[in-house]
Symmetry: C2
Subunit: 284 residues, 2 copies
């Protein structure tokens, strides 16, 4: 079957009608386009678990702050479509901004607490934009499963909380981060790094690994582990640290006790590019 | 078929599976119990339009303010069940507060603008509580149609806006207000009025009717029409006016121009009972 390209929510409803009549399960991979190896893995996972796979491509203005990189974000739709075709995706949903947020749009969804720290603290309104667009996509496609990357761990935690709180009948699947050879998490934003900054960016993963190493070695004081990570980042002059935290993996709040699993999460600016990454750490 | 009583969202999912397999349409009537003639009409409407009807009974703490009448609201479940049985309802969903809002609940849904005026101004947080619980019920029951009373016109407008903005696949049906012989809109709260206050309460409908009469007579100045309604209410010493407004029926904002349809909306306190009512007015 050829890849279908849809732009409107009403088309989705019609298309789903036949998919559901054939009792096929639906997998949704929400993206902002500029598809890379991380997205490929999400799509492959969806392809292996669901009968019918739709990839949404929508650069969601609601989740970008006024000073952020909304304008340089979009990739080329034709390139993204080729990736989807190659991976056996059934449909791509690429709505315009007016389709998702007509002039009359006035509704938003918010998850408290999990959005207070980490990116939530530095990107006010970001997660409200994420949950609102994801809820819309979940309503439009009513998937059995939806796929999100572990790189955006706070986002995935927030979406899981929303799904649970609102009784949404969907399974949220978190897919492991894909990394470059030096450990840098694959991201659309990596493309904006020049060679020098690209090299410096490797410190982000090194800092997370150092935190993991220390926890596994038995250090139980969060402050020490955090400082060890920060030391690595601060040694790199091209990096400005936004945050480096050890958090409870479900509530996404600073963890003081390192006897159960924690997630080391960090956001840094490398030149004018903002990168995030994280590692789940199981104490030895 | 006997009436089924369900208390948990997971039971809903199981029950729906067979209903959907039989390709029956589902109608949801969300209530806070204490069922009266207004609810009966909602249920009858659902019964006539849908194959399978579920009535939810849940006094939603999120939509009551700290000084409001949450505690005296609940009716007797056994009485409500009898009403549902008599009207041929298929299932009653009566979840506990812990089922709807476990300790971990952190998500809310909000509709802007439509909630700024009228009850939204006097009951901060009320509509956020309404949209959150209604969205949960819509996810739990995935009805084809859901039924709301015209008496709560602002609530219905807010829910319609949410459904549209979030691409929810459900039809919101607004059912006309049921009135007592003197015009008082039927409400669970009428039971709390003693005979003297009950008599005074009749002024609310009279004030709305007077506004309608003036618009139909050709008066096009909102301020004059509003004052005529207020005059009637203020003549009644047992009534304290919260608001009396003419609004755009969709956006629920004060209307200055009475050349298209407007809704006269009012909230009053009669003794310690708060009553609301409204009338849609089509200019002659």
């Amino acid at each position: 079957m050829a890849l279908e390209l849809l732009h409107e929510a009403t088309e989705a409803r019609k298309r789903l009608y036949t998919v559901r009549r054939e009792r096929r399960t639906v997998g949704l991979v929400p993206t902002m386009g500029a598809l890379h190896a991380g997205h490929r893995k999400l799509i492959e996972e969806a392809r292996s678990e669901c009968d019918w796979v739709v990839v949404s491509i929508f650069v969601n203005p609601l989740q970008f702050g006024p000073q952020e990189d909304f304008d340089r974000y979009p990739g080329k739709l034709s390139v993204d479509l080729r990736v989807c075709e190659e991976l056996g995706v059934d449909a791509v949903f690429a709505p315009g901004v007016d389709e998702m947020y007509p002039f009359s749009h006035r509704t938003s969804v918010e998850v408290k607490e999990l959005t207070d720290h980490l990116c939530g603290r530095f990107r006010p309104g970001h997660f409200k934009g994420v949950t609102t667009v994801v809820l819309k996509l979940l309503h439009i496609w009513t998937p059995d499963r939806a796929y999100f990357g572990e790189k955006d761990a706070q986002q995935t935690a927030v979406i899981k909380q929303m799904v649970q709180d609102l009784n949404l009948p969907v399974l949220i699947q978190e897919v492991a981060t894909v990394r470059e050879p030096d450990g840098l998490a694959v991201s659309s934003r990596n493309e904006f790094l020049d060679p020098e900054h690209r090299k410096a960016a490797g410190s982000l993963f090194q800092a997370l690994q150092e935190a993991a190493r220390q926890v596994k070695e038995g250090i139980r004081e969060a402050g020490l582990v955090r400082q060890a990570g920060l030391d690595i980042l601060e040694r790199e002059p091209l990096i400005q640290v936004e945050y480096f935290e050890l958090v409870d993996p479900e509530r996404m709040r600073p963890a003081n006790d390192l006897r159960s699993a924690v997630r080391a999460c960090s956001a840094v600016h490398v030149g004018n590019v903002r990168l995030i990454d994280n590692l789940l750490i199981q104490p030895a």
